[in-house]
């Protein structure tokens, strides 16, 4: 089987419109989270990381792409067009498009939206992105809760190995809407301060928004400087509860084992874990249990939710991209918001940005529906 690589990438977020700028902000411990007072979204103020619309639309204008696009489409097209431009791969029948999102253009369901309700269909979102950027084949839309972004990398790899495509572009995105915020609020899951993954005083999630894009390829001539090999991947369901994570971390453990098995490396080879760390009581506790069961409790680990908030279907992809830059820069980035361990099992949370020779990292994510995904990445040798 071919080696499959994750290569050119982009992040559109409140920390910048370019992966390098975003990573520099993370290096400097700048968070995109801020207190939002917007009664059209929630009656009380909430913490979130929101992209500045004026900057987004100004940036979009420079692309010269015409059409009547939603906010999310602006984000996705801005992000993906940049990656296509850098990768210099001609879009033909051998190039696939994956779109990963949980809720897509759900904001058009609001009675005040000027867009037709048709735009809420994820397949319509797929068609809009496909046509705006000139893809030839029908988009594969992945909507698998909060693992969507990282699962999409596994899916791209699988389609390339099946010979369906040589290259797959993934764009992942979700936006902050009244729909999402009121929903998480009804779950009493929102924190009223910047989130604190794994911390003793953590009190829930912040929801954020990003669009992120990446090229997945088997072509060694299409590698960016921070490109990585997708060593192995796996997904597993907790088979326990549709919203609460398994108390034993069963699905997460199994997904990591599946990824390890495929990659032919050992647990000792993992230099860094980019974990899910939503800062809810149960999620972080479950991860601690799973990583201890796997003997990974000494591996440096962070959650990037303190920078972006939980960006739902896009979180796994944006965090993978930061992880790639982490390897490239041989730097472990601080798990922002953490000060004192608040899970029942030990974890090696990164508390200071540290230079360290890095070769291999593990990205994990978990989501509603009991889904868990793990992917292992390694520097290109």
């Amino acid at each position: 089987m071919n080696k499959i690589y994750a290569s050119y990438n982009n992040i559109i977020s409140s920390l910048g419109f370019d992966s390098e700028i975003v990573v520099q902000n993370i290096q400097d411990k700048n968070s995109g989270l801020q207190l939002i007072e917007d009664k059209a979204i929630l009656s009380q103020p909430f913490y979130s990381s929101i992209i500045n619309s004026k900057d987004l639309y100004a940036n979009f204008k420079t692309l010269g792409i015409e059409g009547d696009f939603t906010r999310l489409e602006h984000m996705m097209i801005s992000s993906l067009s940049k990656v296509i431009g850098e990768a210099k791969i001609p879009i033909n029948n051998r190039v696939g498009l994956i779109i990963s999102t949980t809720k897509g253009n759900v904001d058009v369901l609001d009675k005040n939206s000027r867009f037709s309700k048709e735009r809420a269909y994820l397949s319509v979102l797929g068609r809009v992105i496909k046509e705006a950027l000139g893809f030839k084949k029908e988009a594969i839309v992945v909507s698998n809760a909060c693992v969507s972004g990282v699962l999409s990398i596994a899916i791209a790899k699988r389609y390339i190995n099946q010979g369906v495509y040589d290259n797959v572009f993934i764009v992942s995105g979700d936006i902050v809407t009244e729909f999402i915020i009121t929903g998480f609020n009804s779950f009493q899951a929102l924190s009223n301060e910047p989130c604190k993954p794994y911390d003793k005083n953590r009190s829930g999630v912040n929801i954020g928004e990003v669009a992120a894009s990446i090229l997945v390829t088997k072509d060694t001539n299409a590698l960016s400087k921070e490109a990585v090999v997708v060593l192995g991947e796996g997904s597993s369901n907790d088979a326990n509860h549709i919203s609460g994570p398994s108390r034993t971390g069963e699905g997460l453990c199994r997904s990591v084992k599946s990824a390890i098995k495929e990659s032919n490396i050992t647990f000792n080879d993992i230099d860094y874990i980019s974990a899910h760390g939503t800062a809810t009581l149960f999620n972080d506790e479950t991860e601690a249990i799973a990583f201890n069961r796997l003997g990974l409790n000494k591996v440096p680990l962070n959650s990037l939710k303190g920078y972006f908030g939980h960006t739902l279907g896009a979180s796994g992809l944006v965090e993978t991209i930061v992880g790639m830059h982490s390897l490239q820069n041989n730097t472990l980035y601080t798990s922002l918001g953490f000060s004192e361990l608040g899970v029942s099992k030990p974890l090696n949370i990164i508390t200071e940005t540290t230079s360290r020779k890095l070769d291999t990292f593990l990205k994990t994510a978990s989501g509603f529906g009991g889904c868990n995904t793990a992917v292992l990445f390694q520097k290109v040798k």
Partner: protein, 85 residues
């Protein structure tokens, strides 16, 4: 209090879609969560919404809910003492 208990049983069956359970099946002191009616964490959140909507009681700590939702008896007592509508 008896009227409130009856109302609670009806609302719980309706709100939590307990299709095969009747008001007569729920005794005032039956445990609602775990082995009792088999309610789970989403049901607990749903009951918190019900307290707010029907009785004007706002709970912000789900753990607090667990104690209040011990049984119909306990719930009725708490509602009687704290209701604002």
């Amino acid at each position: 209090m008896e009227v409130l208990k009856q109302e609670l049983k009806e609302n719980i069956i309706e709100q939590l879609n307990l299709e095969d359970i009747t008001v007569e099946d729920i005794a005032d002191n039956d445990v609602l969560f775990g082995d009792g009616l088999g309610l789970d964490s989403i049901d607990a959140l749903e009951l918190i919404v019900m307290l707010d909507k029907n009785y004007g009681i706002k709970l912000t700590d789900p753990k607090e809910g667990r104690a209040i939702f011990g049984s119909i008896e306990v719930m009725a007592k708490y509602i009687t003492e704290h209701r604002t509508k």
